[in-house]
């Protein structure tokens, strides 16, 4: 009888505990979602009225208070393109070396990894100072989309590499042994087996990296500049969306409505990039499986 009661009690406490943990786990995302909708709702509420075809396709007028943001969207996309063109090969290459071809205790691998850990923590404003000194002054790119893109590339590299590395490490060793047994060289093992399997990890890195790059203000102010014309080449200065928002909200009286509008456009742009990345991965994985 006593035994029975004890078991019952125990069951009861387990149930209670489960209830507590479950409600705790559910409450966190609820809070986060609520804050998210608070912030996003604020932007949409104030920004949606500004957005029209005209807003997206015309040049800025009256210091950004009126007119559109077409040149700014073009500059932003170009800066991102430069950033990703440079950072993806560099990042994925380094990640492959670290995860596949370097032993844990190898000095070179350790050195690169430490240096990346530090790089991940370098404040964006310091990247701005660095980009200004190296790309703008010493390499002579001046204030340009190229300088901005390259600075951002340095900035997103650690995130990209970390995630790509985690993704590669997550691939079971069986794949590698299997491929080695079949006498497949490591280059093709990498290309056909490991990289496809590591794509989800890569994608997280890419999304995080793009998120950080597209939202960056401090690093770009000193590198890509303030000019709100339509850029005619990568060596032209171009104002990014985030700088436009910063300028409108901090420097232009009456700039708030268009600042909200631009912020909304920025978020939609991010949504499109995220969606495209997810879709491409999906397709890629599908093709790989068929090919195999």
């Amino acid at each position: 009888m006593n035994q029975q009661q004890k078991t019952n009690n125990k069951k009861q406490t387990t149930n209670n505990k489960q209830l507590i943990t479950t409600s705790l786990v559910w409450s966190v995302p609820l809070i986060i979602t609520a804050i998210f909708f608070w912030i996003l709702g604020d932007i949409i509420w104030h920004g949606i009225g500004q957005i029209s075809w005209e807003f997206l396709t015309t040049a800025t007028k009256d210091a950004g208070r009126s007119g559109g943001i077409a040149p700014i969207i073009v500059s932003t996309v170009l800066i991102l393109a430069v950033c990703l063109t440079v950072s993806i090969p560099l990042g994925v290459g380094t990640a492959i070396l670290l995860a596949e071809f370097t032993r844990e205790e190898n000095w070179f691998g350790r050195l690169v990894r430490r240096s990346l850990d530090v790089l991940a923590g370098v404040p964006s404003i310091v990247f701005g100072l660095f980009g200004n000194a190296l790309f703008v002054r010493i390499l002579g790119f001046k204030y340009s989309i190229l300088s901005g893109g390259l600075t951002l590339a340095c900035m997103v590299l650690p995130i990209l590499i970390r995630s790509a590395e985690e993704g590669l490490r997550a691939v079971p060793n069986d794949y590698r042994f299997g491929a080695a047994c079949l006498g497949i060289c490591r280059t093709s093992t990498l290309w056909h087996l490991l990289l496809p399997a590591a794509v989800p990890g890569l994608l997280v890195g890419l999304v995080l990296g793009v998120g950080r790059a597209i939202a960056e203000t401090a690093a770009l102010l000193f590198t890509s500049g303030y000019v709100d014309h339509l850029p005619t080449s990568l060596l032209d200065s171009g104002r990014s969306l985030s700088i436009h928002i910063f300028d409108l909200s901090m420097n232009i009286s009456g700039g708030d409505p268009n600042a909200y509008g631009s912020a909304l456009v920025l978020i939609m742009l991010l949504l499109i990039i995220n969606g495209m990345a997810a879709w491409i991965t999906h397709r890629w994985l599908e093709n790989r499986i068929l090919y195999r």
Partner: protein, 293 residues
């Protein structure tokens, strides 16, 4: 005949290993470039910081009576502490929240909800810091002001930073939970462990390295955040005595004064930058030590 076959296969092997060698050397070059970036950054910071260090030495940055570069006073201590407090506060709050949010995504939420929640977190990661700062200035600061003026405060900085770094830890924790082998979970279930018991006893230890990475990355982000902190913290150079006191972070110090600074003032801001780099390096070394244990 057999000899011929052997020859071919050895040639083939050589070709293969050459391809591998080529790949490795390309990868090494790429990795060297990425590894060298940080050295470049430190090099430029030191180069720009040298003038003021030559004139003043390092000691005045800790012992001067205040931070007034125009009058030759360069005390950085309050800003070092400010950055430390605001970072510590936000990391302590964001880490459990982020990990719980990843647990939710992986083990509690139905697949559809988890999918949408993940997209939402990714979006949250992409909202520009200016927008967070803007929201903080318009919504959060007046709210805190009604409790305890002036509103722009350490607390406002901690809250904004918590929201900003949460996606980093949440996404990374999520990714590292996702790659825990299925067998672990099946094993735990067959041992009769409850869901929460499995998470604490099996999932957390298995994902330790991933979680740790997340914490390091979010700490780095918190230390380095500039615009939002600048907008909500009040930027007064002082050691905050309560969470309602205004304070200035090192990054905000650079952003506030860089554009206008010349000569030794400008140089002193690069010393701020070096201070930030020092903090990051300490962080990395500390993480290294913990990791080895």
């Amino acid at each position: 005949m057999t000899l011929w076959k052997l020859k071919i296969s050895s040639l083939f092997n050589r070709l293969q290993s050459q391809a591998d060698l080529l790949l490795i050397s390309i990868l090494r070059i790429l990795a060297t470039i990425t590894g060298a970036i940080v050295l470049f950054i430190v090099f430029f910071l030191i180069l720009e910081a040298i003038p003021v260090l030559q004139d003043e030495g390092i000691v005045p940055f800790f012992t001067d009576s205040s931070w007034n570069p125009a009058e030759g006073l360069y005390n950085l201590t309050p800003m070092l502490l400010g950055t430390l407090f605001v970072t510590l506060g936000s990391v302590l709050i964001a880490t459990p929240l982020g990990i719980l949010s990843a647990v939710f995504c992986q083990y509690y939420a139905p697949a559809k909800i988890a999918y949408f929640y993940r997209r939402l977190i990714e979006l949250l990661a992409g909202i520009p810091s200016v927008v967070y700062g803007f929201w903080g200035l318009v919504v959060l600061v007046p709210l805190i002001n009604s409790i305890n003026p002036p509103g722009t405060s350490l607390l406002a900085g901690i809250i904004i930073l918590t929201i900003m770094i949460l996606p980093t830890i949440a996404l990374i924790a999520d990714a590292s939970f996702a790659k825990i082998p299925e067998e672990y979970l099946i094993g735990a279930a067959s041992l009769g462990l409850s869901q929460w018991g499995t998470i604490v006893g099996v999932v957390f230890p298995a994902a330790k390295s991933g979680l740790f990475t997340g914490v390091i990355l979010e700490t780095g982000r918190a230390i380095g955040e500039t615009m939002a902190v600048l907008m909500v913290c009040g930027n007064v150079v002082q050691i905050p005595r309560s969470i309602f006191d205004p304070m200035r972070a090192l990054t905000a110090n650079i952003a506030l004064e860089m554009a206008y600074a010349l000569g030794n003032h400008r140089s002193a801001l690069f010393v701020s930058g070096l201070g930030l780099m020092g903090m990051i390096i300490i962080l990395v070394v500390a993480s290294e030590i913990i990791n080895e244990q």
